[in-house]
Amino acid sequence: MKQQIIVLIAAIILFGCEKAAENASFSAGGNGTGGSMARFTIVGNHLYTVDKSNLKVFEISDPAQPVFKRSVPVGFEIETIFPFKDKLFIGSTSVVHIFSIADPANPQKQGEAISPEFMRRCDPVVAKDTVAYATLRTTGPCGGTRSVLAVYDVRNVQQPVHRNAITLGAPYGLGYTGNTLYVCDQLQGLVVYDITQAYAPVQVNSLLLTGNDFIDVIPFNNLLVAWVSKGMALYNITDKANPAFLTLID
């Protein structure tokens, strides 16, 4: 690709979102929903964690008695972990490592996504059936040419194909529900895209919150939970394209 971009792909906690949306009465056995910058994630009966260089697996069939199963060396500067179906996408500052968890206690590396034209410093990330969205941030001392929302075709998760790049200011976390994608940007605020055409997001809105930057978001039923610089902000997203501010918890 022409732009100097590096890919950090991960997947939104799709199951958590969809389940929560389906179940008006929550099941006590279910798990919650995290943001796109998490280092802990739960899939089924396993807790997966990443530290700077390792993926760790804990079995939590008995939730009160986690059992350490194994530690898998992944690479350098690991930052985020996201499940997508039977895959884990593990983001680092340079490479996206893709593991299969078809055997949940025994993640197997399948491949990695790396951009040939290398640029440091990127961040998280969501994916759904055929597409992954990653924010690639180039502010700060580590340089780069521009910050973008990158769009990847992940039908073959072992070899994501770059499909699009949308210029942003300084993007951080992101999340989606249905055909709406929310991206946190230090300059533009909360930027809302229609992703009906998955590889061609169309910006439909952007919101600022006075005195706050947006850092990460979780769409949770009709609520958008946002990590902002002074705490947590909540928005009603019954109308997905038009988040309505509810409250700031600071």
Binding site: A28, I42, L47, F58, P63, R120, K230, M232, I249
Partner: protein, 173 residues
Amino acid sequence: MRYVLLLLLSGLAACVQPRNEAGPSMMGYAPVYLTGQTSNNIGMSAARATKYPGKIYAYQQWLFQVEQYRGIHIIDNSNPQQAHKMGFLEIPSCTEIAIKANHLYTNNLDDLVVFDISNIGAPQLVKRLDGAFPQFSQEYPPVPSAYFECPDPSKGLVIAWEEKLLDNAKCRR
């Protein structure tokens, strides 16, 4: 392969940029080092103001936000328009959160800890896996592009960062 590795390492090293000299006083981040009894200071306390907001999590009618390196704000979201903090779970060095079946998983120093949150007002520590996360020491502050006082390994592990006026903020990431 070795060459690639070398390139990668030199690239990473460049991400922490020491300043050439100690400049004038400026706002930056100072490391907070682990002291003896810090790890024992776990438990529920009254709701408090958010100072170093961290990761977020949604579970049933509750929302959670990490107070970076200090604990977790617990928020009652039964009515989102009036969502409010109902308490603070103190967990030194905590940065992460995940929940399944009324059990909250987080990190406390280098341990994995599990709280039973069936009674959200009184989480119970039910399990600790010692040394699950040996790499927990914080090498740099949780803020991009910030200047900070370079950690001194001889002073111990870094469990938090405090924003303050510094004379010797020689590191930047």
